[in-house]
């Protein structure tokens, strides 16, 4: 066991790779991975020039979400400004905008959006609509028009400002913990196999269980330390509220680590070369992240794919992380998320131990 630690820490580069990047990545990704838009570049094509149109456009200028990059004076300029990605949105106010508005007829604001990234496009449209809704309310009030007979009062629970950082950053904890554990475990057996030292280990009086523990413990400890550091950064640096109990969180972390280590060791003991080990790690890592609900909701996936996610330990960990951080979910509610991870851990660790002996080549 001590030997495993030494093997890992002896190699200076390997040590650096395991400790440095997760912290840097958390910081960078924590800021980068956001669905909140700011500084959306837009261009204005104002054919009206009246006070009402100016008023409406001023609201866009005043918004932190938008940044005006160009002013357009004829139709032909719309295409190039969007094509070149100089602007994401063109706001087009037609020549009869002010007149329609004054006569009480519906005035059109044409909004042209670059749909190359359809998710961003949809968000931009939502932002535009909410600015226009505010304008409408103000205009109706100022001109004594009837308010719409029904209006919506929207509130978001747990995350009143709908900051996506609060959603993404806890997810990144899971992401980085998984990557680090896989790095530590997935190549460890394969490397010893390749170098022949694993055979030596097998002929010693050590039982497979003992070898398994020796292999699993470093991953567990490094993973736990890493997770703790990342959780601390999440709370202290990113100000994500931690509303649930730490104990519940760590129950999740522990089980998740065990299941990740189990899968890592299983891959590792199946592989004959390090290249195969790495390939296996990748083939697990990438789908595990994509199908975990980290960036895209599992509910949007086709039903068949949703069944696949049931064996993904990361999926359960995501629910626990977000539940404990944002909703303050108590332990007993999270039990349905905990036991599947325990099963994955048990099955994979057993298989790994069995493979130690039976996978001979």
């Amino acid at each position: 066991m001590v030997k495993e630690f030494l093997a890992l820490l002896k190699d200076k580069k390997s040590r650096f790779v395991i400790i440095g990047p997760p912290i840097i990545q958390l910081l960078v990704f924590g800021y980068a991975a956001t669905f909140d838009l700011s500084n959306v570049p837009y261009a204005v094509y104002n054919e009206d020039g009246g006070a009402a149109a100016r008023d409406l456009l001023a609201r866009f200028q005043g918004s932190a979400n938008f940044q005006q990059v160009a002013t357009i004076s004829h139709d032909g300029q719309i295409r190039p400004v969007i094509d070149d990605k100089r602007a994401m949105v063109v706001l087009h106010v037609g020549p009869r905008f002010g007149r329609h508005l004054a006569l009480g007829q519906p005035a059109q604001l044409q909004v042209i959006v670059d749909g190359r990234n359809s998710n961003t496009a949809m968000l931009v449209l939502n932002y535009v609509r909410s600015i226009v809704t505010q304008f409408n309310r103000q205009w109706s009030a100022d001109h004594g028009l009837a308010q719409p007979p029904v209006h919506l009062v929207t509130r978001a629970w747990f995350n009143p400002n709908l900051r996506s950082q609060w959603f993404i950053v806890p997810g990144i904890i899971g992401l980085l913990t998984l990557v680090v554990t896989m790095l530590v475990t997935a190549l460890s057996v394969a490397r010893e196999r390749e170098q022949g030292t694993f055979d030596q280990l097998l002929v010693t009086p050590l039982r497979p269980v003992e070898i398994l523990i020796g292999k699993a413990l470093p991953g567990l400890i490094i993973g736990a330390v890493e997770a703790t550091v990342i959780i601390a950064v999440t709370v202290l640096w990113f100000d994500v509220p931690l509303r649930g109990s730490l104990l519940t969180l760590y129950a999740g972390v522990g089980l998740f680590l065990l299941s990740a280590i189990g899968v890592g060791l299983m891959i590792s003991s199946m592989a004959v070369t390090q290249q195969q080990g790495l390939l296996g790690a990748f083939l697990f890592l990438v789908p595990a992240i994509i199908l975990s609900g980290f960036a895209t909701p599992i509910a949007n996936m086709p039903v068949a794919v949703q069944y696949i996610t049931l064996v993904n330990p990361m999926r359960y960990f995501m629910v626990i992380l977000r539940g404990v951080f944002l909703e303050g979910t108590p332990f007993h509610v999270l039990v349905p998320q905990l036991w599947p991870m325990a099963i994955v851990a048990l099955v994979s660790l057993t298989l790994a131990g069995w493979l130690f002996r039976h996978r001979m080549y």
Partner: protein, 386 residues
């Protein structure tokens, strides 16, 4: 593991520059054919990943489960609720009271609650209008925003119908008339699949070379090759050419799947796509070469390759997350991520067409990166000899 009979002397014996190179390339191909894992990386991985991502990753929410609570049902509320029942974005459930609805929201059974209070009918006719309470679960902020956007859409359509039915002027002075270019259906698959090709290609290019070259260093066969009269340039080319061809094959497969399986429109020309892809592959292979030459062994090379390729390409390339919205420092950082340029090219080529003002600057950035990486790997190669 089939041990390759590695005989640099055979290469040497052939002599002559071009022939030497051909010999090296041939040797590399034989090696690839013997170890199935390289082929797996190049061909099986793109297929598996594209299938998983293409079907698994979707940001289009349809039939969002939503709870509707009506305190005092009347004909007017039924009309409003009907608007939700007819929308394809929602599959509403009627729940008797707020307690049940809140529990359902907490349990994740519904993504939002629309509540109509008992005074709805009365306040409908007052000047202020009737409020309708909308609650969404903000834990998944993006989803929360999408759901509340959908609710707003249903609401404004309902208002329009009401106004038409009564022959009154519409209560909204300004209407938004939206046009989404390039992807009018807002199908998220259309931008995710091209982006995925970039992510997958980063993985393949870097992994393929990182491991293979590091293995030769580890075994000492690289040094053996060095003592032969083969020039460093030839060794590098001998490594790059076979994997370039392998990567191109993987790329062609991915593009074919995108077009025929996922029905992503390819509006740009195939040859421009091919040129951009080749350029990007060179960069990815260069990354792999630098990693493997700088790292001493496969273990470290593998670890570095995982860390510097997948997650940055996934998060910092603009594939899902908008680069404009990142803080300035992070946005600057994305300039060193090669996938960023390729994602921009791919999304434009697939959805918009051959727009040179997007393709050329990004291609230039890729050319510079390829040159820097190849130069660096050549230099590192030399240095390791000293």
């Amino acid at each position: 593991m089939a041990e390759q009979p590695h005989t640099p002397t055979a290469v040497e014996a052939r002599g002559g520059g071009g022939q030497r190179l051909r010999g090296l390339v041939r040797k590399e191909f034989l090696q690839i054919l013997r170890d199935p894992s390289s082929i797996a990386i190049a061909f099986v991985m793109p297929v598996v990943l594209l299938l998983l991502f293409g079907y698994g990753v979707s940001l289009d929410a349809e039939h969002v489960p939503i709870a509707i609570v009506v305190d005092h049902p009347t004909a007017e509320t039924a009309d409003f609720v009907g608007a939700f029942e007819h929308s394809r974005y929602f599959s509403p459930v009627r729940l008797p009271d707020m307690h049940v609805a809140q529990r359902a929201l907490l349990a994740g059974e519904v993504d939002g609650i629309v509540r109509i209070r008992s005074d709805f009918g009365r306040r409908l006719r007052t000047a202020g209008g009737a409020p309708v309470q909308v609650l969404v679960n903000g834990v998944d902020a993006n989803n929360g925003r999408i759901v509340s956007g959908y609710v707003e859409g249903v609401w404004s359509q309902w208002l329009q119908h009401q106004a038409q039915a009564r022959g009154q002027p519409l209560a909204q002075p300004v209407q938004v008339q939206q046009r989404v270019w390039f992807n009018s259906q807002l199908r998220s698959r259309n931008f995710l699949v091209p982006g995925l090709i970039a992510v997958i290609m980063t993985l393949i290019g870097a992994l393929l070379t990182a491991l293979v070259v590091a293995r030769e260093w580890e075994r000492g066969t690289m040094e053996a090759l060095m003592v032969t009269p083969v020039a460093v340039r030839e060794i590098l080319l001998g490594k790059v050419i076979p994997y370039f061809l392998l990567g191109t094959g993987g790329m062609a497969l991915s593009v074919a799947m995108a077009v025929w399986l996922f029905h992503v429109p390819l509006r740009g020309s195939f040859w421009v796509l091919f040129a951009c892809a080749s350029l990007f592959l060179l960069v990815a292979l260069g990354m792999g070469m630098v990693i493997s030459t700088a790292a001493k062994n496969q273990f470290v090379a593998g670890q570095v390759a995982i860390i510097v390729t997948f997650l940055p390409a996934f998060i910092l390339s603009g594939f899902i997350f908008d680069i404009n919205s990142m803080p300035r420092v992070v946005a600057l950082l994305t300039h060193v991520i090669p996938a960023r340029y390729f994602v921009a090219q791919l999304q434009t080529l697939f959805l918009a067409g051959d727009i040179w003002s997007v393709i050329l600057p990004n291609a230039l950035a890729l050319v510079i990166m390829a040159a820097v990486l190849m130069g660096a790997s050549r230099r590192l190669f030399r240095k390791r000899l000293d």
